[in-house]
Amino acid sequence: MRIDIHTHTARCKSGDAPTREISAPDFCEKILSTDVGIVAITNHNFFDLEQYRVIERGLGASAQVWPGVELDIVEEGVRGHLIVIVSPARSEDFSAAVTALTGGSTPDGFFGTIEQVLAHFEPLEPIYVAHYRQKKPNLSENALDMLLAGTRYPQRVIKEVTNSISAGIYISHGHPSIYGSDVQDWSDYDEIARNLPELRLPVDSFEHFCFLLEKDQATINTALDRKTVEEVVLQPFEDESFLKLKVFNDINVVFGAKGTGKSCILRAIARHYSENGLDARVYEPGSDRLNEIFDIRGKDLQINLVPYGVHYCSDEIEAVRAAKEAEVTSLSKYVTYFASKSTNRNAKLVLLKDIDPEEDGPSKRDFLDAVEAVEKTSAYLTFLESNDAARTVLTEPERDELLRLLSAFLKALQAKAWSTFVAWKEVALLKAAVTLFRKEVERKTGTPAKPTTTGFRRYGANRNKIAGSVAAILKSIDTAIPPIIATIGTLGKNKGTLELRTEFYFQNGNVTDGELLSLGGPKKSTQKKFAAQVRLIHGRVYSDDLFQCIARLREIEDVEGIKTVYELVLFKKYFALDGRAYEPSSGEASMVMLQEELARDADVYILDEPERSLGNEYISDVIVPLINERARAGKRVFISTHDANIAVRTLPYSSVYRSHDHDGYKTYVGNPFTNRLLNTSDESDHLDWRIVSMRTLEGGPAAFGERGRIYGHT
């Protein structure tokens, strides 16, 4: 949730842009379309109570709207702006106070003093937000001192600066600071809202916000405790001393100088959760493991070819490999038959032998077609009767009519199947009888029977079977498989997104890319020779040398390893940027590994110095948001770090600080909201969280310079 303490709804002063004006319904729509959960209306020297009420009703429980005003203050001849914001409960009194203060002046003509402001608003217990330094027109240091001296609530005096970086810098120097949109053009608000300060702790109301500003311990603890808290007892160190930690299902940071045992604490945390049945492991950056993690060598790579319409062709490959030539009928049998046509009287009586039998193939095919039609129609009828969707889409009479027609169709098909069966068997039996009688006459009379076939059918069928098998194999291995592209992670704003591309190819006899690896096991040379030979066979199926080609296929070394076209798959797995192969640097490798770790679905994330090899910008723009997102999802995140970008910008609910001096090791726990770190062994020993983190963490001041966008440590 974000907060905007400075907005305008009306064009009050002559210098205000028309784009600053917005109606109450449009204002509500704008706010509700963003992540802004708290907004203050702070028009120049003017408060419109009626509009405020309409907006309050319009936002309902979805967002808080606080009444405010941006006043022109003049002290010692110097003009500056001061925002006064009060509780919604005091909106009516506030309206009266603004009217009383501004009197009969127009917003353009009003100038007030700090004294007047205090006199009119102090009873309403407001928050004061003063334009500061670069935020023009800024309140003078003198006017600010007067305000701080005159108010009963100096901790509610905040300095408004221009942006998050300025806010962070001032905060690091002890100045409570914030920034608002000071919106000039409402059409830009969606974009502006994305950069407004984010509330790290939940804020229920104006009063609650004030308590947090005053660093009220109880209020902070209550806010923190809205997260799931648990106490874990660890034994991280060799001295077997116990370390009791309060951990949140949010961000928990361990920081301190090198060699103070941060990694030991993380390992103990991992052990603790593992023993409690959670998937917990310590992530340590290691760029050299990138290829292993993403299985670039494809050790565990597999692919299901079916979705790509590829038939595995195990039967076809076996058929080609085992193919044998079909023999033809020797013509001498015909010559012998006609040369010695039987003169045996009894043989002449057996007329059956002289019938030219029909081939039974066509009638058999007719029968099989009919059987297939019966089976499929019958299955479809069963499906129609059992499927709810199919049953309910028609009215009962329509359904009855459909079923009647289909049943009649099925009956006709069954009759057809029977008649074709009879026809097939008639031909087959006759053929069998002719063959048998010819053999018997031949045996009894010693004269050869007339051959029943030239062998052409058998010969052609054999060649056709080989042709069909080879065509099926080639169809499969000529299929193009689209690459599988997985987004690995971003390498930062300027570089783009790193992808992991896995390209698959079939060795079709022509693939020569040396970077491709064999997926199925056989050597690449075997794959290539096999595919090339199958392609050659395809062109020689009806040639005299077909079986020489098949013999050469069988002779290929290790060819028996190719049982399906899967064994002909080649692959290339590589990282790519903008579609081109890219070798990530060690820093980039660390980036993507960390993103991969955080993308993992887990309850506990334990990151040991995740910043190693990573740039500040990347940590801020990519890693910190990812960590925050995990925390928002209620995950426990533990991070040991030397990097202020992580420790400061994530505003951890729990911080563990390890130090080492001449007295030995010390462990402090605390958080940035109370700004305190307490020694776990000595309650009287406490440190300032901000100062320790500034001093201990690399890039501390710079990190503070950007953390102003996150409220919590003002």
Binding site: V335, F338, T453, R457, G460
Partner: protein
């Protein structure tokens, strides 16, 4: 349907059945057992099937032994050619629309 002519030929005292395809004659030995030559002839006939349906017809069927052999052989061959053609259609090795 195309009719391809066939005839019994004699060469070097050997008898052959010559089938005249558009691409040239296919020769099947009758008086010799030469399976490889028969297979080679069959290969050419299968290739011819791809170009369309056809029937083989023997010129001048005489009463001599080899005419009878050739006549019987061609009768059986014609039936088997039609069967192979049907099968090739089924495997989509020839187009359905070719007649």
């Amino acid at each position: 349907m195309v009719t391809l002519k066939a005839s019994v030929q004699t060469a070097d005292d050997k008898r052959f059945l010559d089938i005249t395809l558009e691409s040239g004659a296919v020769r099947i030995p009758i008086s010799d057992d030469n399976p490889n030559q028969v297979k080679s002839a069959f290969n050419r006939l299968i290739e011819r099937i791809k170009s369309g349906a056809f029937i083989i017809e023997l010129d001048e069927v005489g009463d001599d032994l080899f005419s009878q052999v050739a006549n019987e052989y061609i009768g059986q061959l014609n039936k088997e050619i039609q069967e192979v053609r049907e099968e090739m259609k089924k495997f989509k090795l020839v187009g359905e629309d070719e007649s």
